[in-house]
Symmetry: C2
Subunit: 285 residues, 2 copies
């Protein structure tokens, strides 16, 4: 069934939703995005995603073409129009069309688009039951990964490289330390039970799920350390995992072929996944 998508105030069948070939999102990668998970037909951790959206907008001096209330209303309406029960809402704002010029347009007309993807992610799938293998690759992305821009060619290339090696994803590293996974946060659990993930900086995206997991872990008495860790430390960790809005918490059981812990999803990973689901399924809006 064709989806109904949102484009600049219009609701359109997906095949009719088009932007100019002059749109700066197309010509300059001049656009930011957000992905919000939907469960039971409601929004999961929406406040976090809306806040990060406004941060991205500010960092590249964009303007949001709609108010915060309108944005929430659009999110709710796209769920209804697509009978979406479980999946995600993808939102993108570009600086809009203009004759090609590296200078920002003087009177920008931003392009706002949203579409949905149905996806079962709450019930434990094979990736959650068995964990996933990842490979490591150098992080070749630009230096402002804290801004959620659509400049995603390298993460996409890295996913293809992972697939070629029979892995589900890649963990990226820079100067000897893990930054993050291609489109999720990388975390490990040390043998003495500490949850480790890199501290926020320009090097990584401020993951909304990451923030929620760290908060839930602290509340549950799990010691949390926000600091860089090496690939070697990850490979000898007790557990490894990734977090993102629609993967929530997913165990990582191999890095570059090296088995993590006993090769099965570990107790801290499972506990965090359960804490996350329990909390957020009770707080959908």
């Amino acid at each position: 069934m064709s989806r109904i998508v949102y484009l600049n105030g219009q609701w359109l069948p997906e095949a009719e939703a088009k932007v100019s070939i002059f749109d700066r999102g197309y010509v300059f990668g001049d656009a930011i995005y957000e992905v919000t998970a939907v469960a039971d037909g409601k929004l999961m951790d929406y406040a976090g995603h809306a806040a990060r959206l406004m941060r991205s907008i500010g960092e590249i001096a964009l303007e949001c073409p709609v108010s915060a209330d309108e944005l929430l209303a659009i999110h709710r309406e796209i769920v209804v129009r697509n009978n979406l029960v479980e999946g995600l809402i993808y939102l993108q704002i570009s600086r809009g069309p203009d004759d090609r010029d590296f200078h920002f347009p003087k009177s920008p007309k931003p392009t706002l688009s949203l579409f949905t993807q149905a996806k079962k992610f709450i019930a434990d799938g094979p990736n959650v039951v068995n964990g996933i293998p990842v490979i490591s690759l150098p992080d070749l992305r630009w230096a402002r990964r804290d801004i959620k821009t659509v400049q995603l060619l390298y993460p996409s290339m890295a996913k293809m490289e992972a697939e070629k090696h029979g892995a589900a994803d890649a963990w990226l590293y820079e100067d000897g330390f893990v930054t993050e996974a291609t489109s999720s946060t990388a975390l490990i659990v040390t043998r003495d039970g500490h949850l480790i993930t890199r501290q926020l900086s320009h090097a990584i995206l401020p993951g909304i799920t990451r923030g929620s997991i760290l908060s839930l872990a602290r509340d549950a008495g799990i010691p949390v350390e926000e600091r860089p860790f090496t690939l070697d430390e990850a490979k000898s960790a007790a557990e490894a995992m990734i977090t993102s809005a629609t993967q929530m918490v997913q165990p990582v059981v191999k890095i570059d072929g090296d088995v993590i812990g006993d090769g099965k999803p570990g107790p801290v990973t499972k506990r965090l996944r359960k804490l996350y689901i329990d909390y957020h399924l009770s707080n959908l809006i």
Copy 2:
């Protein structure tokens, strides 16, 4: 007057040329581009741009949707349809539309678009007569700048930052050495008359105009060194310049407010510009 643009086999008024909001060029920055200069209604250094296009295509495992002959024919036809005498042809190829997934589509349908821009660039304008001031900024782009992708948000931000400082452009540096300008090659002339520019690597774009200038310089007996140089070396150089398809050779007379040479376009810069124009205006196709 509205331009006629090319989009996937169709000739369209520019306002009607649109791509899907699912196009990977829009959603992932998954697209490459080329810019070819047009003078006297003919193509300038087309062979170089066509060759680099095929290189970019290969580097990100794209497929070119048309043959080399068709591509040349499209370039010629867009000139005619727009009565373009002097200016440029912009060409972009994206991996095309697909439901959003970091993995490349299994059956990609690449999007090929071309448009023209009229621009006087042969006769010496004020930038050529007076030279331009630039500022320096850290190079925050991704690490595969040798591929001409549309992931151009940082160069665009750098142009805006330059403008804010009353400069025309920015020279980017990394690990203490100049990489290139935001959308052109950076070159200097030492006090003993050597032309210096960074050697090709993943750190910079293999500039077509750069290659032509180095070749013309060597033929004219100007010593050429392809090696990294620091900002300090640039600031104390006899001359500085940038090269690109539609700027050809443009003198740089200030870097971060420091005057280069005597603050006027230097003799080597002027000579290279003349050599470039003389050669290429005689070799238009």
